[in-house]
């Protein structure tokens, strides 16, 4: 379902040069990371636990500053620049309704009530929650809550979407459904997506390019394009090409653990 509107958002490109992050106490999370993500690209980052994937994502988001190195996020459109972040837990405000939660980023940016409610409703409809607008998070399942979190991320039409293992806590079926939903959103908006995951099959299914980090201190071990057709359908997972791609990634992970 691709959005034919000519105002479709081009994404931000991201450049990291020599990024190094040391935590207080001397623990080196990541070591000399060089990475270039092109505008509109869908990149998956994988690696063992503690390898610094989340750290990298936070640095890209601007939530943390690196100890050394440079991070640049290029604005495609001066003044119209938004980064969105999706966490592993949906992290919704439990005292607000679903639509109010989805509208939160616009509310914080000062958008008036009518406009933000409209945008939030549209985003929620896109993720299939059009009839849950006035419910409270406590009344939703885990999968629905994650979809609200996604809608919230999309509501500002972000140029850069960062996701940190967002579907890891969900069951397999819901996870695959949300993977498809995410990919649809990307195909219709073409923002830049950087997706951190543990799952090789998820990475290969979703991304155009996979980056594998070694164990701590994290370094880039593998950085390869995923050689699969651009139309990803569920049946793809059963094919030999899919298995081959996941094996490449898996081998990269093994090398990184060594």
């Amino acid at each position: 379902m691709s959005d034919a509107s000519p105002a479709a958002t081009p994404g931000s490109s991201v450049t990291l040069r020599g990024v190094r992050q040391v935590f207080p106490g001397g623990v080196v999370a990541v070591e000399s990371i060089d990475l270039e993500v092109a505008a509109g690209e869908f990149v998956a980052i994988l690696g063992p636990s503690g390898c610094g994937k989340s750290t990298l994502l936070r640095i890209i988001a601007g939530l943390d500053r690196p100890t050394a190195g440079a991070v640049t996020v290029h604005r495609p459109d001066a003044g119209r620049f938004d980064t969105a972040y999706v966490f592993q837990d949906s992290h919704l405000l439990p005292w607000r309704t679903v639509v109010s939660n989805a509208a939160l980023p616009l509310e914080l940016r000062g958008v008036d009530r009518a406009r933000r409610r409209e945008a939030a409703t549209a985003a929620l409809v896109k993720v299939g929650l059009g009839d849950a607008l006035e419910r409270y998070p406590a009344q939703l399942s885990g999968g629905m809550r994650m979809r609200v979190s996604l809608a919230r991320a999309m509501v500002t039409d972000p140029t850069l979407l960062l996701l940190d293992e967002p579907f890891a806590a969900l069951d397999e079926i819901t996870r695959q459904r949300l993977d498809e939903q995410l990919r649809e959103l990307w195909q219709s908006r073409r923002m830049t997506v950087i997706f951190v995951t543990h799952s090789t099959s998820e990475a290969v299914y979703l991304a155009e390019r996979t980056v594998v980090l070694s164990k701590r201190p994290g370094r880039i071990v593998v950085d390869r394009t995923v050689d699969l057709p651009p139309e990803r359908v569920a049946e793809l997972r059963a094919t030999a090409e899919f298995a081959r791609e996941t094996r490449f990634v898996y081998e990269g992970l093994e090398r990184g653990e060594a």
């Binding site: 988001a61 601007g62 939530l63 972040y85 837990d89 992290h91 409270y136 500002t156």
Partner: protein, 264 residues
């Protein structure tokens, strides 16, 4: 069927404690009669109930006076406590500098403070409710503050990401997120308020028509009427229970939609 369900719920929640109360009073009555305890030490529960009935006008008037002071004190605690906690939560340095002094509220002996208060404010309602406030504000501050600083860090990050200022983060995120803690603090404060009010009345309460339960207790004690003392104590306990119960109920309403703690 649906008309009896609320009645059954009422009986189920109030029944057991009432049974315990009645059984307890029966036991005390029997023991006191059997052991011949002097009435100036422990009055017979039956006499206490009799006094409650015979002197109900007098006692209920005193209860009303105490209630007024307790409500003023509690209201002050609730609002100032939350406000102080918000101020303390806003800055690490302010918190470090000032939090130790909030403990002052916890530890100051009312016996020392009450006479001073009755000089600055007038004795009676003003001084009494000021004491009630001093005695009950600390739990509100402590619990609210704990909730404010323990706000979900991921949400704080999210707010930061979207450029929210300190005020927006405090009032749209931290404060609502700490409401369960606020109510915990208010529950504790409710009981303490009543204690503080009654004790303050011992020290700086008004005698005469506007006397509160604390004054009744002291006067009755002075004149050897232990049954009246206990009757007044029972009423004070009932007040404490009522305030606690109200806070609980309000808490459940406010938190109904979103918090597991409301699901009881």
């Amino acid at each position: 069927m649906s008309s009896t369900a609320p009645l059954r719920r009422f009986v189920a929640s109030f029944g057991p404690p009432v049974v315990v109360l009645v059984a307890g009073m029966l036991l005390v009555e029997l023991y006191v009669r059997w052991a011949n305890t002097p009435i100036y030490l422990v009055p017979r529960p039956s006499k206490v109930l009799l006094t409650l009935n015979l002197e109900r006008e007098y006692l209920v008037a005193a209860l009303w006076t105490t209630t007024k002071a307790a409500l003023v004190g509690f209201g002050a605690s609730a609002f100032s406590g939350v406000a102080i906690a918000i101020v303390l939560a806003s800055s690490v340095w302010v918190r470090r500098a000032l939090s130790p002094y909030t403990v002052f509220f916890q530890t100051v002996p009312i016996i020392a403070i009450a006479p001073m208060l009755s000089i600055w404010l007038a004795p009676g309602l003003k001084a009494v409710s000021a004491c009630a406030f001093i005695v009950s504000v600390f739990p509100v501050i402590a619990n609210t503050l704990a909730g404010l600083v323990a706000t979900d860090p991921a949400l704080v990050d999210l707010f930061r990401l979207y450029g929210a200022g300190r005020a927006a983060t405090m009032f749209k995120l931290r404060f609502p997120s700490s409401l369960p803690n606020v109510f915990t603090g208010l529950r504790v404060a409710a009981g303490l308020t009543v204690i503080g009010t009654v004790v303050a009345e011992f020290l700086v309460g008004e005698l005469g028509e506007e006397q509160g339960l604390g004054v009744v207790i002291v006067s009755a004690s002075h004149n050897g009427h232990s049954d009246r003392v206990f009757a007044a104590v029972l009423l004070a306990s009932a007040l404490g229970l009522a305030m606690f119960g109200t806070v609980n109920l309000v808490g459940r309403r406010v938190l109904a939609n979103w918090h597991a703690s409301a699901r009881d």
